[in-house]
Symmetry: C2
Subunit: 453 residues, 2 copies
């Protein structure tokens, strides 16, 4: 009797979490993973640190090799194989070797789509110029690294002022490049509160990064040798020696659409809490699916490695015959921009209003630890629902003690705590780490006062 | 018509939080605070940093002066006034000036007892020798500081290996003293898990601190000039030039007992969630009261500045006519011992068993942030209830990312989360701060596996 076969499409984060989990649950499954690119299992969030030079060797960002999966987990990983079609009713995929070869038909009993996201690059002239990079996968990042080392450009333009754009600006400035960030909207980091954006802008300016806001990029212009020369936006022309496209990511769902799988309102694949798609035996996970936002209760597109891995585990567990749940996420994220830590979780005040909450907000500044030990202020902005008193979101910025403190709010959000409960938290205190009243509690008290008004 | 008068006994943490809160709630109250000692409103947790020399000026640990309370908050603070008796039925206290003067009778309408804790020093010979210090209040700490600067001792013995004893050992070693810690029991830090105690012991040894366990101190011996010479324990004699008594704190409840107020099973004053004592109009808060442990549901003695301040606010708010609640605490604490961060929250496995839970535990080690950016391992031990799957406690140790991460567990405990819910938390990730799977999630997964066994 032949074994049941689980096929996984995509071998970066969610796909490999799924395959590994399926193997742990079911030692008898045949598990095949197809990855279009040459690389699997790497830390994409480490790319800025490779570009800055803080991480010396690209291999430091690789986690596991195909050999590891084969020998240690009995999982076959095929790299540079593109899945071109999913025929759900036939339980079959069509696969083609990227570097040539005849198409193959592969039968599956269960299928997991973990096709990830792709750069959401606007259609511009000049995208194919030398010196233009998207840094969304290992190859494009290695391309940038090689370009920086061989061509030694002195100016860089980052298109897009979200977390990844800012981390790249930081990394390029650390290498000594003169950096310009072009941001389409009036403010950096969409859905980040204005107070926090203001501090990020100051930080960029202090580190010599030139910020151009309201800059819709119209095209990229090159020299006669086909090398990037300038970025043209409605704010004028920015001369540059290289361009980083950090315009965000969108779900890679062509395969799913062609297969007739349901796409949700966000444009990503719709899945239930078992990570099941609209077709039986077909699961999906990672940056190609949408996620229930646990604060709004609505579908959201939250492409994050953390969420992708959790979803992958659940998809793998269920594809292997169990019944695990992925309830959703609260949209927690953190990034480091020069000496600033920036973090957020839940809904911003604007998002909360849009979703229909009676959103009100409170902002405080308080030292991250005892001032007599050098503690510096962190800024905390909370959003709560006036009607229920429930916490809806939190954003923070500061030079220390921000990234992991946001997780306390994330936990409170997941527990659907009220601000009153938040203010009662028994948080740790020792002068090197906190103040008697942690900034979180001070923020909660200020939010309570606001709610009582 | 005369104003209503609120009298507060004790002016360090809880007492001043209470007075300040009462003032904010009720601008018309007359508020009088009596403090036996000469100092008010200081950071006792900063004492080790004053002793180490990291904090240069003692005044850096003072927060507010009596003048501040008088002019800014219209609160009268009387220092060096001892309240000798509380006559509840007469709504009266007897007060005497510490440095002499006739006793006074003072009427109150509402009373808040915030008498704090006192050093739980065993009755030993030689406690009055020169060079013996308890470091529980500002004066005793200043005494030690002065002694260190004027007598320049080269050896110190710390009696008691809890958090404060360890912080003092660290501080004295930082000043260049040769330090011995004498611990009564078989292990440091009572109720700390063995794996964590083991790492603390290694850390002490690496920094040249000599640890003597199972050492019940029998007495202190001095020279002919009345200066400390050695500590005598059942483990032998330890020659020393100074002794720090860090044997813990007990509630200061004599006044309450004499007044007929109810004392709870822990030996501290019994209060309800409104911080009311057994007598109407008499409230109590801080290190003199017991607290509901929100995991065990039982009364616990948790003398901490954080809890004291929260209780003080509630006592003050209610004494001023409102109806606020203090639900309890989960026993969160953190300390720094040389390069280690040590933290705990909730119940240890032994405590959980004693309370009647089907306690089981799981321990993991995982990097606090990306290894390719220098992340070092933290150790996490979780305790959960086998029957309900509920998280009961967490302890952590590591060189970074411990003290504020414990708060995520504290929040989960306060929300009564199961380990399954804990494993679903949407925690922040960026390589400088975490790994894709935060140590908290890795610990939760290991705990889940243990629970399913």
């Amino acid at each position: 009797m032949s074994l049941e076969r689980l096929v996984v499409v995509g071998g970066v984060a969610a796909g490999l979490s799924a395959a590994s989990r399926a193997r742990r649950v079911n030692p008898h499954l045949e598990i095949w993973v197809y990855e279009k690119g040459p690389d699997i299992s790497y830390s994409a969030c480490g790319f800025p640190h490779l570009i800055s030079g803080q991480v010396k060797e690209a291999d430091a960002l690789r986690v596991y090799s195909p050999e590891f999966f084969r020998t240690e987990r009995n999982i076959q990983v095929f790299t540079q194989y593109e899945v071109t079609e999913v025929l759900v009713s036939h339980r079959r995929i069509n696969v083609v070797k990227v570097r040539g070869g005849a198409p193959q038909e592969v039968h599956f009993d269960r299928l997991i789509l973990a096709t990830g996201g792709e750069p959401d690059v606007p259609s511009l002239t000049g995208l194919d110029l030398r010196g233009v990079f998207s840094v969304n996968d290992f190859q494009s990042t290695l391309g940038l690294k090689h370009y920086l080392e061989s061509e030694r450009p002195s100016r860089a333009s980052v298109v897009g002022g979200g977390y990844i754009g800012l981390e790249m600006a930081d990394a390029l400035a650390a290498r000594g490049l003169k950096v310009t960030v072009l941001e389409r909207s009036t403010a950096l980091c969409e859905t980040t509160e204005a107070e926090i954006v203001g501090l990020i802008e100051l930080e960029l300016a202090e580190h010599g990064v030139h910020l151009v806001k309201n800059a819709t990029v119209a095209g990229l212009a090159g020299d006669k040798q086909g090398r990037i020369q300038s970025v043209c936006s409605d704010q004028g022309e920015t001369e540059t020696d290289c361009v980083i496209l950090a315009t965000g990511v969108r779900p890679r769902v062509k395969l799913a659409i062609d297969a007739g799988l349901r796409i949700g309102p966000t444009g990503a694949m719709a899945v239930n809490e078992f990570m099941e798609t609209s077709e039986a035996s077909v699961f999906a996970a990672g940056d190609c699916v949408e996620t229930t936002h646990l604060v709004s209760g609505r579908p959201a597109y939250l492409p994050r490695g953390t969420t992708a891995n959790k979803q992958g585990r659940v998809a793998g567990e269920n594809a292997a015959g169990r019944r695990a749940r992925f309830p959703g996420a609260v949209g927690t994220a953190a990034c480091k921009v020069f000496s600033l830590e920036v973090a957020r979780t839940g809904l911003s005040s604007q998002e909360a209003q849009e979703v229909g909450f009676q959103a009100c907000a409170a902002t405080i500044k308080a030292p991250s630890h005892a001032r007599y030990l050098g503690g510096k202020d962190v800024l905390v902005k909370l959003v709560a629902d006036h009607l229920s008193g429930r916490l809806l979101g939190a954003q923070m910025v500061g030079s220390e003690g921000v990234a992991k403190r946001i997780d306390i709010f994330a936990t409170a959000l997941q527990a659907r705590m009220t601000v009153e409960q938040l203010a009662q938290l028994d948080l740790s205190y020792a002068p090197p780490f906190s103040t008697t009243w942690d900034p979180i509690l001070i923020a909660a008290q200020e939010m309570l006062r606001e709610l009582r008004r």
